[in-house]
């Protein structure tokens, strides 16, 4: 216990030394509580543009809570409160005038378990744009989104089939296609591969690289190898605090904190 106290994160230094690219998302002194329990404690984090940022940490460390704060998906949790600032391109997302739906149109999300709508494959992709007033060519949008999500070749002959007829890995790529169809700026991914087999996981990881050019990606994962493989930056959270944040190579090869070293080398967690 004592060691945690000593290694309290030196956030200001971390921020200065880390991100050199333009910031898309910024968390400033963000604390998130469920009732009395603080799931996220005073986190400072900057998410760079067109990069993949991984958030890692042991179960229950607050990484998913932090992720959901970026597109206001915590709003649905009762007894939830947030303090500090979450900024998206310098807009404070928790300002009263900000409509959460407006936030989510720009910042998409892929969930832990594939959750396609119980409709056709095509409708899953086009529904988001349609309810947001899309007037363009629906078929072209579906094809383009499915191509970007590396799913087109597998489903092009059965676009009208139910999304639930797809395998788990295909369903998750469909959910990514659904997010892409909104043409978002950022895509948040909450352990997108945790329910998938290794082959599906590999396909999604390949997909992440191709998406990196168009979108800013934030991926929560409990799989350290995955974070090491896919991400440019890695944030290590423990018990709601940001222990260390930096270039992925640095976090995994020469972390500055002992806790980080212990975690990434598998000595705990």
């Amino acid at each position: 216990m004592q060691t945690i106290r000593i290694e309290k994160p030196d956030v200001t230094r971390a921020r200065e030394t880390v991100v050199t690219e333009a910031a898309v998302l910024e968390a400033k002194e963000v604390t998130i509580r469920y009732g009395d329990f603080a799931a996220v404690k005073g986190i400072e984090l900057t998410i760079p543009e067109n990069r993949i940022t991984a958030i890692i940490g042991p179960s229950g460390c607050g990484k998913s809570t932090l992720l959901r704060a970026f597109n206001r998906m915590n709003d649905f949790i009762l007894n939830h409160s947030i303090s500090g600032e979450v900024r998206y391109r310098s807009i404070e997302l928790y300002r009263p005038s900000v409509d959460p739906a407006e936030v989510r149109r720009r910042i998409g999300m892929v969930f832990q378990k594939p959750n396609p709508f119980p409709r056709s494959i095509a409708k899953n992709v086009s529904w988001g744009p349609l309810i947001n007033g899309f007037k363009g060519d629906e078929d072209a949008l579906v094809e383009e989104s499915l191509r970007k999500a590396a799913l087109w070749d597998e489903v092009k002959d059965r676009l009208q089939a139910s999304a639930h007829s797809l395998s788990g890995g295909q369903q998750q790529r469909l959910c990514i296609a659904r997010a892409i169809a909104m043409n978002p700026d950022v895509i948040l991914m909450d352990e997108p591969c945790s329910a998938l087999d290794p082959i599906s996981t590999a396909r999604i990881e390949d997909l992440l690289f191709s998406l990196r050019a168009h979108y800013t990606l934030v991926i929560v994962t409990h799989n350290m190898q995955q974070a090491a493989r896919v991400s440019d930056y890695t944030a290590f959270l423990e018990a709601g605090e940001l222990i260390e944040y930096g270039k992925t190579a640095d976090i995994f090869t020469r972390p500055q904190k002992k806790r980080t070293l212990d975690y990434v080398t598998g000595r705990f967690g």
Binding site: N71, A101, G108, F111, N115, P118, R119, I131, R178
Partner: protein, 299 residues
């Protein structure tokens, strides 16, 4: 005293005593359950057979298209059938929108606070209130208070009160069974709560909601007490032409015929029960059809 449950290593491939006992017990339980199922079915078959034997001779086109009469040979249940259809139609018209919307509010919008908790508890309790109490309520509010008289409308509104708690509870159950992840998926695309509920939650819950509605209406179809309470007539020699007309209903007609001393009328009552059961089976068949159709659509 053995400190392990592992059987001896030496084993001749046969079942040991201990496992044998457990299997026998399991078999006994299976038999017991099968017997109970059989008993239930047997009772139902005896009941149906009894009614069928008593009434099938009276069952013909004339029976369905004639008005009641004091001569058994001429009596029919045209007015009762028409009255039941009228009351059920209006009850469905009133109770479906109110019930489903109330369920959506409670399940999708309401936050757990004192008022909503009171509403929930009250609805649950109302579902258990005896139907005659709803009849009294209908008599005071609709027949007298709103001066609707002994009309189809008063009967339908009373029946609406009776089925609303059931419709609301069944609909809430159906809405609750839709996974939260579907709602999250929709919200994450910038959908409003209405878009989320209407396009996905309601679509997925609709088979369950429809089943609940039809079961509630089936129950109302057989209810006699509240209609007698609000003063539905037992002898009606006309078909209601509008919601303000007097009416009778199938269960009331059955009650009327059963209470007569002549044997022939008991046969008529049995025939009317067959018709009522036929309508109920049709309704339930419709429920199954709708359920399967929308399930296929949802996939």
């Amino acid at each position: 005293m053995n400190d392990t449950v592992r059987p001896p290593i030496s084993w001749n491939g046969e079942r040991t005593d201990q496992l044998d006992r457990r299997h026998r017990r399991a078999e006994q339980f299976r038999l017991w359950c099968a017997m109970m199922t059989g008993a239930g079915c047997l009772l139902l078959v005896v009941l149906l057979l009894n009614i069928w034997l008593g009434g099938w001779r009276w069952l013909d086109w004339h029976f369905l298209t004639s008005y009641p009469s004091r001569f058994a040979a001429q009596a029919g249940l045209k007015s009762a059938l028409a009255g039941s259809v009228w009351v059920m139609g209006l009850t469905a018209l009133f109770s479906i929108p109110i019930g489903v919307c109330a369920a959506i509010y409670l399940e999708e919008y309401a936050r757990p606070n004192l008022i909503n908790t009171i509403i929930e508890v009250t609805i649950a309790n109302l579902a258990g209130v005896p139907s005659i109490v709803f009849g009294m309520l209908g008599l005071v509010i609709f027949v007298r208070g709103f001066a609707l008289g002994r009309s189809v409308l008063a009967g339908a509104l009373t029946m609406t009160l009776l089925v609303l708690p059931i419709v609301i509870i069944a609909s809430r159950e159906a809405l609750r069974s839709v996974p939260v992840t579907i709602r999250q998926g929709a919200f994450a695309l910038g959908a409003s709560r209405w878009q989320t509920v209407y396009h996905h939650v309601l679509a997925m819950a609709s088979p369950g909601i429809m089943t609940g509605i039809i079961l509630a209406l089936s129950r109302a179809m057989g209810e006699t007490a509240p209609l007698i309470m609000i003063g539905a007539l037992t002898y009606v020699a006309f078909v209601p032409a509008g919601p303000m007309d007097a009416f009778t209903a199938l269960p009331i007609q059955i009650f009327n015929w059963v209470s007569r001393p002549q044997q022939e009328f008991h046969g008529l009552a049995a025939a009317a029960i067959i018709v009522l059961l036929g309508v109920l089976i049709l309704l339930n068949g419709l429920a199954i059809y709708l359920r399967q159709r929308s399930q296929r659509r949802i996939g």
